[in-house]
């Protein structure tokens, strides 16, 4: 598979992709735990406008432009560690990149990371929606 050109994201995705099922689950739990809490100013904005509507679990994403780079923030329930772990991958893997780079993240991220495999095909679409939403927000922030 072609490299993503996004070293931090690539490292996280490759680590997950190369792990076996159990290691992958443990990694997701760690990633979920490492998702930093939202800054207070954003925590007040957890409303429908900032929610990913297609995802069954309440997932909130925030993108801010800062000198040509994007700062990313996100939140998802502790009770949904797979979803929260995925949000953590995106936030940690893409924070500080440019809008163009974030908007270019490919659709096959779930496949590369092996998440599609542990979720089952019937349950990966909510995470695809999180990725699509983040790309859309990045494109807007960069415009």
């Amino acid at each position: 598979m072609p490299p993503l050109g996004l070293p931090k994201l690539e490292e996280l995705i490759n680590e997950l992709g190369e792990a076996d099922r159990q290691e992958r689950i443990e990694l997701l739990i760690d990633l979920a735990r490492e998702l930093p809490p939202l800054p207070d100013r954003l925590d007040h904005l957890k409303d429908e406008a900032h929610r990913v509507p297609e995802c069954q679990s309440p997932v909130f994403l925030f993108v801010e432009a800062e000198g040509g780079r994007l700062r990313l923030y996100g939140d998802a329930p502790i009770e949904a560690p797979t979803v929260r772990g995925f949000v953590s991958i995106l936030v940690n893997g893409l924070d500080g990149e440019s809008a163009e780079e974030v908007a270019r993240v490919p659709d096959d991220l779930l496949k590369r990371s092996g998440l599609a495999e542990i979720l089952g095909m019937q349950r990966s679409s909510g995470l695809h929606a999180v990725l699509r939403r983040l790309r859309g927000m990045a494109a807007q922030a960069g415009a």
Partner: protein
């Protein structure tokens, strides 16, 4: 749990807490999120996943008898073990697993009322250690599956005979405005709507905010006053892939005591893709 037809099928979090070390009891977590169990589960609980353990990975069906026997043996479940299911999403998957265990003839299956949500909300202990139990020599005794499972031909016969069907999907899926639950896109069906004659009783009306089941009076009002069911009815319940309807199957069978309820696990992902089967749209 006053008033339920088979109250012994439902246990409280207190009951589970008092039986954590009971060798005759096995606590089983069944979740939608495959990592939730490993992040922290009821001490001593084992995980049985709907996707990773109970479903065949090639054919759209449950695992076979030999695979089920192996699964139970490895989880330290014997034929006479009391198996208590709980999980996320107000016990959808717990009910789904219980239904599958019933197909394979496991006798003593129960659900922990409130599921993961209530256990967590009450700050009860969770642990990450995955327990290991001595293997058993489980022998499955599958029941006549036609008593609790409906296939598409059964459903066709059912609508011809004008017998009651319960559709537990969201209102917009029922009317055909949406092909899937609002939050779950793309779980592929080519046509939208419902099976003719089905009554809409969205699954979440059967549970309270804290994850517990509604009272017997509320459930009767929902299914009998609301959807016109009678306890003697032959009922088929369905949803999109058969998981939310197994919660309705559990409620009708064990909490209200209906003797003849079947879960159509092919559900809308089968019916909405079949050629030339009748479909209705609108409320």
């Amino acid at each position: 749990m006053p008033g339920y037809a088979h109250p012994e099928l439902l246990v409280s979090a207190d009951w589970v807490a008092a039986h954590l070390d009971d060798p005759k009891v096995r606590i089983v977590e069944s979740d939608e999120d495959p990592a939730l169990y490993f992040q922290g589960h009821i001490p001593g609980a084992v995980e049985i996943g709907w996707h990773s353990h109970l479903q065949d990975q090639v054919v759209r069906d449950y695992i076979d008898v030999a695979a089920f026997e192996k699964l139970c043996s490895q989880a330290g479940i014997a034929n006479d073990t009391t198996v208590v299911f709980y999980g996320d999403r107000s016990n959808w998957w717990a009910c789904y697993a219980l239904w599958a265990f019933k197909l394979f003839g496991h006798n003593d299956c129960r659900v922990m009322n409130g599921g993961y949500k209530l256990w967590k909300a009450e700050d009860r202990p969770l642990e990450r250690e995955v327990p290991n139990y001595p293997a058993t020599n489980y022998t499955a005794k599958p029941i006549d599956e036609s008593t609790i499972r409906a296939f598409r031909d059964d459903v066709l016969a059912h609508i011809k005979a004008k017998k009651p069907l319960i559709d537990v999907r969201s209102p917009k899926e029922f009317t055909g405005e949406m092909l899937h639950m609002e939050d779950y896109p793309q779980e592929g069906s080519l046509r939208a709507g419902h099976i003719p004659g089905a009554k809409s009783v969205p699954w979440n009306q059967a549970v309270n905010e804290d994850g517990t089941f509604k009272s017997v009076e509320e459930l009767r009002a929902l299914y009998e006053k609301g959807a016109g069911l009678k306890p003697t009815d032959d009922v088929v319940a369905y949803c999109r892939i058969g998981e939310r309807s197994s919660l309705a199957w559990f409620v009708l069978t064990y909490l209200l005591g209906y003797p003849k309820v079947r879960n159509y696990d092919g559900s809308w992902t089968e019916w909405g893709n079949l050629v030339r089967v009748p479909i209705e749209r609108g409320a």
